[in-house]
Amino acid sequence: MKPILEVNGLTKQLGNFQLKDVSFSLTEGCITGFIGVNGAGKTTTIKLLLGLIQKDAGEIHFFGENVQSKEREFKSRLGIVLDEGYFYEGLTLLEMKNIVAAAYSHWDNSLFNRNIERFGLSLNQKIETLSKGMRMKYAIALAISHHADLLIMDEPASGLDPQVRMELRDILLEYVADGKSVFLSSHITSDLDKVADTIILIDNGQIVFSEEKDILLDQHGLVKGDTKELNDQTRNLFLTLQETEYGFSGLTKDKASVRQQMNNTLIERPSIEDIMLSYIGR
């Protein structure tokens, strides 16, 4: 598995907000979750990737080639789903598709029709009549019908009910089964990170970590036990710690030391959300 997209030293000043030296790479065949709170820099990063805003500094390579020199080719190999679908509300799905399809040289109409059918959409429906979930599925159908190698999605899960989010997860897993890749941004509360292979956390315009999801889950431990076990030394083992009169619960990155220095503690595997929350707000 090779890197499909490499970002190096991406920097951008936007009013008071600064994206600082953002570097990461996406692995082929993987779903990468790009997570962080609102205002952390997720959408700015995606807009810079897509060239929707100009970067102050940094380089982006797609399959080893600088995207600036091959912008047209780069964009034809991308599928894009942005937060608010930029659709003309009064058009039918078919009319809107004809506008989008014209922009892609590798548009595959039979693939599009299969996707529309699979997602339970109807082409002569008007866009304004679509529910939020159907709108998302329509946006995906438009984004994956030209054999794109990389699907970039900005907050695809926001505002969707659990059932549609689950369908979305299955759609993404099916998409990457052919070796294609997905880069999706999400709020920390989204359950889409469950399907991610790699997690990149951004906070305050900077990358906090970029790591395989299962390694994150293995490295960290959710520790529960009696507050008597907490002292100046053992407290330092935790990234975050909550105490009640019944006991404590805390997140550690050093399970071995917890086991050595503390008795009768329960160590569980944390959720990605537990881990994220412990790195933000520190």
Partner: protein, 126 residues
């Protein structure tokens, strides 16, 4: 084949998966030459990262349990299978020797030791 990932036990996720696939091969649940699911299919079913299942297959391959043919998939290995059983057999012999030594030092007789083993078999069959 059954694979269960525990959230409370300590071995890393990839280790848990690898050990259970190994067991399935050793116990013949997965037969020689049988095709394994693709790394993506296995990752999706187990809800783990595809990078984890790839690590599992890479290690199983380097230990001789499976072979991977580019473009075709991964299969339970044939060549080292006898060797594998032999090494498992050897492990049992080592543990039995240990048990026998301990029994001897405690003065436990041959009959008593046999009786213990019979009991284990009976319990195992229940």
């Amino acid at each position: 084949m059954k694979i269960i990932i525990s959230n409370t036990s300590d071995p890393p996720i990839y280790q848990q998966i690898k050990n259970q696939i190994k067991d399935a091969i050793i116990h013949g649940e997965l037969k020689e030459g049988e095709m394994l699911p693709s790394i993506r299919a296995l990752a999706n079913d187990l809800r783990v990262s595809v990078l984890t299942t790839r690590r599992v297959y890479d290690e199983l391959e380097s230990e001789g349990f499976i072979t991977t043919k580019a473009g075709k998939g991964s299969f339970v290995a044939k060549e080292n299978f006898e060797l594998l059983l032999e090494s498992k057999r050897h492990m049992v012999e080592v543990k039995l020797t240990e048990a026998w030594e301990t029994a001897r030092s405690l003065g436990i007789s041959k009959d008593e030791l046999y009786a213990m083993m019979d009991l284990l078999f009976e319990e195992g069959e229940e």
